[in-house]
Symmetry: C2
Subunit: 483 residues, 2 copies
Amino acid sequence: MTEVNRKAAIIGGGVIGGGWAARFLLNGWDVAIFDPDPQAERKIGEVLSNARRALPALYDRALPPEGRLSWHDDMADAVADADWVQESVPETLALKHKVLGRLSALAPAHAVIGSSTSGFKPSELNAEGARAIVAHPFNPVYLLPLIELVGDPETCARASGLLRDVGCHPLTLRKEIDAHIADRLLEAVWRESLWLVKDGIATTEEIDEAIRMGFGIRWAQMGLFETYRIAGGEAGMKHFMSQFGPALSWPWTKLMDVPEFNDELVDLIASQSDAQSGHMSIRELERLRDDNIVGMLRALRRTKTGAGGVIAAHEAALPAPAAGDLPVTGDRQVPTSWTDYNGHMNDADYLRAASDATDRFMEMIGADADYIAAGRSYFTVETHTRYLAEVHAGDRLRTTTQVIDGTGKRMHLFHRLVRGDGTLAATVEVMLLHMNLATRATCDPEGIVAERLSRMAAAHADLPAEDIGRHVGQRSKPAVEPA
Amino acid sequence: MTEVNRKAAIIGGGVIGGGWAARFLLNGWDVAIFDPDPQAERKIGEVLSNARRALPALYDRALPPEGRLSWHDDMADAVADADWVQESVPETLALKHKVLGRLSALAPAHAVIGSSTSGFKPSELNAEGARAIVAHPFNPVYLLPLIELVGDPETCARASGLLRDVGCHPLTLRKEIDAHIADRLLEAVWRESLWLVKDGIATTEEIDEAIRMGFGIRWAQMGLFETYRIAGGEAGMKHFMSQFGPALSWPWTKLMDVPEFNDELVDLIASQSDAQSGHMSIRELERLRDDNIVGMLRALRRTKTGAGGVIAAHEAALPAPAAGDLPVTGDRQVPTSWTDYNGHMNDADYLRAASDATDRFMEMIGADADYIAAGRSYFTVETHTRYLAEVHAGDRLRTTTQVIDGTGKRMHLFHRLVRGDGTLAATVEVMLLHMNLATRATCDPEGIVAERLSRMAAAHADLPAEDIGRHVGQRSKPAVEPA
């Protein structure tokens, strides 16, 4: 069976057209591009390179093989046999009329013709006889799933199915309206923000901080109304409305036109909110919200962006745990995201804790960020983990590290993961080799690191190491004596 | 040395007061609560229970020991010796005057008196002689770092230091203004959203989808202006302004008052944006944005919320990889978040890939979600990993799984992780035991699972398994022959 790829024609490149091209191409569609800009190939190439790095990383399974990418000087060539034609030319109505008119004449009858317009309504786009719908994406188009669809219902329904196939979330509007839905909200914030800057109340940076350190994080996972439903607490949406309804008449914005705040409006909002979120209790919504926020903030820690940067800085200032005979290389609470379908800590996260402990131990002997930046490090070549007790979300987990061997390029470590109640939860034996990061070849460590490691090894030599040298499935004593 | 904890007095509980209490308590402060609501202890207890589950999970290190929590019927008792007094009573000015007046008389002179008010200005709060500042938090207060500070500069500076110590991000306003900064933006979106619902354009659920499937995700990490700076592409902020500036005069919102769009405003915004983000190129900002979005979306996958749910559903519809002699239990692209300071895949993420492969293999033999829901599963008791080749972000990684032993309650697996170029990157030997999830005791698997596992074991018995039975540090042949 030969399967023919679906085909998308991208009319107008740039950041938005390039994003559409990437979304289709990386989901296995053939993509034909028409863009008279002489820089188009370079510009779209850069978007594609970003997309190839980011989009597949969302998935734990491989995407289908990429489709074929082609460039066309002739619009008719580009749209031949296309299943989807996407127009992303600049936002002037006369140009949209010209391009969408030609596309409507050239494209196959079955093809969806979508316009990326931020503001124009289908009735405006099609005033001169085109048959386009609005298919309004959000930058970066290859990552954000939302596509607002407006226009002919049958075409929008067909478009929805195709968009879901490439991982998008189509949102079909009930009525056409200037700027659709999302851009109306964005425009309101944009206008208010311009006032704040113009009036000297806040800088662009302060406004961005006011968003990303607070409500922006909430909105990424639940939006406005579900968030406020939770804020209403046990009393719910009506209570929230009664608390903040009066603010509608207060000077909380320079944009003053407001709907009348009456029972009818309160009932309408409250009943829609019940239909949307009523299947979960406030307590369940709170825990879902918290799990989402914790997960997102932990992701932002990695890049030290926004609220993630605040957490990283705060953590660095926390007091270090006190050491006993062995150095304490970890002391933490187990997050919910480390647990799995068995209701306990996932096997890979035991090694995550051990890997963090190895990092901390490396810092202790001087193999720290500066040392690594200077071109030397340790690479893990082997690990052996015994899972001895279950660990649950919320448990305290402390890790100690014992040096088994620190001669030459070898660093043989033995981590013990101990639960808050004193139970030994796991042992992790790790062999690392000292590396030259430029040549990726092994070498002996430099002065201070070698010295501290061998001092640590000597101090730990007489301590017991009960599980060293075992192999998987071994029932009794270790296969070899500890080094 | 005895160290005396800092102390916070929380005046008025509820969701906001409880959130403040949790933020201080979990960062080692003593917390004294005054709240005449007879339900206060239960309500704050529930907030504390949410906070204990979520806040420590942000950190890879333990927070300091919790402070002492006390309840007081007398305001004077509660505020005695307090370093911070936080008022979170309902939003009426007369009540704020009464409470803040008493607190100003009772609290130690060095104590910061903060009001959680969403809208009132310090000049209003202190009109009858109180000495409060605005310290406006965002729900959930124990997770979101933003605190807007408004009022006396010296007090705000002192408050900033204390807030940083408990992991917050203070944002001090230049001028007092109704509703501060963030709530002005929220109010603009709230008003526009009420119009959309009232006019029948969108439901509350559709508005929430329009936010959390698109711009909400961007805002969680960069906010408004930095996002638009990137949208301007290589031409930057001025280009973005020239594209979307004209929309200010279009009917994109019902809230119509707009600042005049002139060169002065464009220059002001562009220069502030340069000061904020000019140290990074657009390309660097794009990659940072994409890493953040990928990380957040991967976090939202876990709970299948919003855009994370879209990804999970799309992934389930992706084609399964074709199998050879051995079942293919993984096939994916390696995300940037799996790499570390050595510029390659982190050691723990090799086991992450192997753990995912074990899950997939369990599904293949029928030990799937339904089987687990019925009370049986496999627990990992031992793993041994050999790291044979470096793997980089963007590499394709395929995993095959060989059954070494599938008799009785034992499931002994051997995963091979193979890079896109065919290089064997790692082998992971795993021993699992079949468990009764209710008793947490081992038992033999049920019919179909036992049958499929033993059929698979028989089919794999004659295939080589080169690395079975090794122990860490072993230089030559395996310690035992493969089963």
